[in-house]
């Protein structure tokens, strides 16, 4: 239990819908416990707004344990706020001090248009996955026995590290070029590292990269901000692997 309750000023992006221009609006919240999560603090604000008949702030959230990838705020100029290796829902108010002013904006990128307030449209990520983020195998119940295809522990672990991506979009939001290379690199890598994924590897990387470009994401200039802000610690190696796969696929034709 907290002894001190914080009083905070929140500067929040309000935008009625995709066509609205939007603006920053100031709100006050009082007696915020340091043990609250950031989203629980937002709940307090919204309860306050509802009780005074105002429209609460719309924000995406769901699992509140850092795995669904739904929450997506840009807090004090950082995707998922100040703290590392976490999503906004895992951010706690102990990271802030009494009297602080906190700015809260949506993830900003041309490919992530705002739907309302802090909610953005990340369907571009889904379309990239539909362009090739799968292995073409039907459900039959008599595919070969799982152990008939040994996969080195190293490859399996590396594929798993890539596959932990939660598709939140922090990499895009934090990148000065709004590049989606870390996300696409992770998705390409998971399959490129596994023998099951080899058969379609060349088409997969070409199609996914083409869709990525079509969606209007920027290019990678090796700044590395994405890796730092990624809540799951997805490594830049995945971008290198994707580039290698992409080159190889194009050379082979």
């Amino acid at each position: 239990m907290s002894g001190k309750g914080m009083n905070l000023t929140l500067q929040i992006w309000r935008q009625k819908d995709a066509n609205d221009k939007g603006k920053m609006v100031d709100y006050k919240v009082t007696d915020i416990s340091e043990h609250m999560s950031f989203l629980e603090m937002m709940d307090v604000l919204n309860e306050q707004l509802v009780n005074s008949g105002e429209e609460p702030v719309a924000f995406d959230h769901d699992c509140r344990e850092g795995i669904c990838g739904m929450c997506s705020m840009y807090i004090n100029g950082e995707a998922h706020g100040p703290d590392r290796g976490i999503t906004t829902c895992q951010l706690h108010m102990r990271m802030f001090n009494d009297g602080d002013t906190i700015t809260i904006e949506p993830f900003r990128a041309a490919a992530f248009p705002v739907i309302k307030d802090l909610v953005v449209d990340r369907m571009a990520f889904e379309r990239i996955q539909q362009a090739g983020g799968f292995i073409s195998v039907n459900t039959s119940g008599n595919t070969q026995d799982a152990n008939s295809l040994p996969i080195s522990k190293h490859a399996a672990d590396e594929a798993m590290d890539a596959a932990t991506c939660i598709g939140c979009g922090a990499c895009v939001a934090t990148c000065k070029n709004s590049s989606a290379m870390l996300f696409v690199g992770a998705k390409v890598s998971q399959y490129a590292l596994l023998p099951q994924g080899q058969v379609e590897a060349a088409d997969r990387v070409k199609n996914m990269v083409a869709q990525m470009d079509l969606e209007g994401f920027g290019n990678c200039t090796n700044t590395g901000a994405c890796e730092i802000e990624c809540p799951k610690g997805i490594s830049l190696d995945n971008i290198a692997r994707m580039n290698r796969e992409f080159m190889a696929a194009n050379i082979k034709g």
Binding site: S33, N51, R64, I67, M70, R122, A131, A156
Partner: protein
């Protein structure tokens, strides 16, 4: 109406195979003319949508999130069971079947559970073929771990993120079909009613959560895989948006709702810290392999700890009460979830809870640090290691096994669990009850199916660890795609179902009227106010232990909250825009009905079984004194409730449970 479970005749091990051989099929050319709606895209709905589309049906899939990959299946940590017997430790289909029926305290349907065990191996094969990166050993083969009180290692896993990887696998299969146009994906859509035409489920009414538009969608069959109703308690480990609306809507249109009182309260969750709490976080059951659970023996120490005068590490071994080891010497800290949860409650109710709220016990890894540390010192040939060195070595091993969980704990609680024991308390996690389905997974509405956690069939009164993922994928990949064909075979000449009919008009009107009511009500209290109030009644009177008086009170109190809700709820904003408060209002309105039926079901079931503990039905003496007492003579049935308006008026139908292949026994963990 009499319930017909449609379980095929014949020996249990042949039922599914011979049934599949004889059911009707739809030829590939005809499948192109048949539409199927799938509501919910977690493991069950996602795998069903993908498989039905592969088969050639036209699938329309609905998710309230912006992508199927965000469904709450993604949060499952531990693993998925399958009777592969890769470890050669004596596992078999029968053993998985037996463990699941026994774990469910003999309240599940034998034939369904056997089929689940039977297809479990196919799931692992399918997932590997899809590229799910399961953990492997150095030989390149799949690794297994042991889970929740069974005697074999049959749990496959992908670090602590098994649910995530399985869901991404199912979603990748969906993506392939979305790209082909065989699945039409409706993200950010919520089903608000089912449409019945000539007695058959023929479509749904859905709301576009971005624009607020009300849409009509028709199909030849409707599949609901929308998860459990744990959020009826307000606080649970479910996602914030997890809701019972799809299940409840089909219930109100004729689908019986089975065993609503069977709820799993998971013993190892992070305790609540204040009234602002929005949800609870689970710490994986795997921690109980190495952690020991205790509270202080003496009340003075409890008070000293709460007041900050003492730290848990100040207490010597004989000042601690390792109550699970004391009460259940055979299973110790690895008793099943329901037993561990009740034991924690018992200590905390007696006043021994170790935090400010009095609702927390310790989960302590100190002896694991020492045990592993000593082993490591031997392995590395360190002579006479200091105590600090041993702890350091041991902590490294614990970190390798559970590092991500320790980090998660520290982020939330702001205490370092390597230095001080974790504090844990039980929380609502999973609901075994749900929509009643027959062997085909069809509800009592023809053409309306229910799969995954949303149905009731496989886990009885208590679910074993790593079985939820298994059931979701079994239903979606390997059961429903067969059984639905048998029904749709009659629809090959039906043609497209029109949506400009009076049935759709009426269903849409009902939905629109309700939405308009909410946005125009201008009450004084928020949706959350009512949800929290409902949650408190549920937790206090229909939580870990229940009695007739409390349940009777709960029914009356929930009814009163519901009446107040409809008078005084405030929903700001408009109907024709993105409006999260409006979404919540609809869901809470349904929880306010479901909660009362839940209490009624718990009241009628005057026995203790699995997660349902009735104080009146406990062993009074002998070695099992105080333990749950099941009553097979009077209660070996499924309670299937028929909707009749007020939840209190629901009519009970009984499906008697027959156990031909397993002998009914009292569970003992002493």
């Amino acid at each position: 109406m009499t319930l017909d479970s449609k379980v095929p005749e014949g020996p249990i091990k042949d039922k599914w195979t011979s049934y599949k051989d004889k059911i009707n099929l739809v030829n590939p050319a005809n499948k192109r003319h048949i539409d199927v709606i799938v509501v919910g895209t977690g493991l069950a709905g996602g795998s069903a949508a993908a498989t039905l589309a592969e088969l050639g049906y036209n699938v329309k899939a609905f998710a309230y999130q912006d992508s199927p990959r965000r469904a709450h299946s993604i949060a499952a940590q531990g693993g998925i069971n399958a009777a592969k017997n890769y470890q050669g430790d004596g596992d078999s289909t029968y053993r998985l079947f037996y463990d699941t029926v026994k774990g469910g305290d003999y309240r599940s349907r034998e034939a369904n559970v056997y089929r689940l065990a039977e297809v479990s191996s196919n799931i692992i094969d399918q997932c590997v073929a899809q590229g799910v990166p399961f953990a492997r050993d150095y030989g390149g083969l799949l690794d297994n771990r042991s889970f929740g009180g069974v005697l074999v290692s049959r749990t496959f896993y992908a670090k602590g993120q098994t649910g995530q990887q399985l869901l991404l696998g199912a979603y990748s299969a969906m993506n392939r079909q979305i790209a082909r146009g065989k699945i039409e994906m409706f993200n950010r859509h919520e089903m608000l009613d089912v449409v019945i035409v000539d007695g058959k489920a023929r479509g749904i009414i859905a709301r576009n959560l971005i624009t607020g538009e009300i849409e009509r969608h028709s199909a030849h069959a409707v599949v609901v895989g929308s998860g459990g109703y744990g959020n009826v308690y307000f606080l649970s480990t479910n996602a914030m948006g997890s809701n019972a609306t799809a299940s409840w809507k089909i219930h109100k249109k004729g689908a019986f709702f089975a065993n609503p009182c069977y709820t799993q309260i998971h013993p190892t969750c992070i305790p609540r810290s204040g009234d602002y709490q929005s949800k609870l976080t689970l710490m994986s059951e795997s921690l109980r392999n190495d952690g020991r659970i205790w509270v202080p023996k003496n009340m003075e120490d409890v008070l000293a700890i709460r007041e900050g005068r003492k730290k848990p590490t100040d207490l010597s071994e004989d000042e601690r009460d390792y109550y699970l080891e004391r009460r259940y010497p055979a299973f110790g800290n690895l008793v099943p979830r329901d037993v561990a949860s009740r034991a924690a409650k018992e200590r905390c109710d007696a006043g021994y809870g170790v935090n400010q709220t009095g609702e927390a016990v310790y989960l302590d890894f100190a002896s694991a640090f020492e045990r592993y540390g000593k082993e490591q010192a031997k392995i590395h040939n360190i002579k006479n290691p200091s105590k600090e060195k041993i702890i350091e070595l041991g902590q490294a091993i614990v970190e390798a096994k559970y590092g991500n969980l320790f980090q998660m704990y520290e982020k939330i609680v702001d205490q370092n669990p390597y230095e001080t024991p974790m504090m844990i308390y039980p929380a609502v996690h999973y609901t075994m009850g749900g929509v009643w389905v027959d062997y085909n997974l069809m509800t009592t509405i023809p053409g309306c199916y229910c799969i995954g956690e949303a149905n009731f069939s496989d886990h009885g009164a208590n679910r074993l660890g790593a079985s939820a993922l298994m059931q979701g994928l079994a239903d979606g990949y390997f059961v429903l795609p067969y059984t639905i064909g048998d029904y749709l075979a009659d629809d090959i000449r039906t043609g497209k179902i029109p949506t400009d009919t009076k049935e759709f008009d009426e269903a849409e009107k009902e939905v629109v009227d309700r939405i308009n009511f909410f946005v125009n009500n201008k009450g004084t209290k928020s949706v959350d106010y009512f949800h929290k109030k409902l949650g408190k009644v549920m937790w206090d009177k229909a939580g870990m232990s229940r009695n007739a008086q409390g349940l009777t009170e709960a029914m009356a109190e929930i009814k009163a909250i519901r009446e107040e809700f409809w008078k005084d709820v405030s929903v700001p904003g408009e109907a024709n825009e993105m409006n999260p408060e409006l979404e919540k209002a609809g869901r809470v309105a349904d929880f306010l009905e479901l909660g009362e039926l839940f209490a009624k079901d718990a009241l009628v079931r005057a026995e203790s079984c699995g997660g349902h503990f009735r104080e009146e039905s406990a062993e009074l003496d002998g070695p099992q004194k105080g333990e749950a007492k099941r009553n097979d003579k009077d209660f070996a049935f499924v309670s299937a409730w028929e909707y009749k308006g007020e939840p209190a008026d629901a009519v009970l139908h009984k499906e008697e449970l027959e156990f031909k292949d397993i002998e009914l026994k009292q569970r003992s963990y002493k």
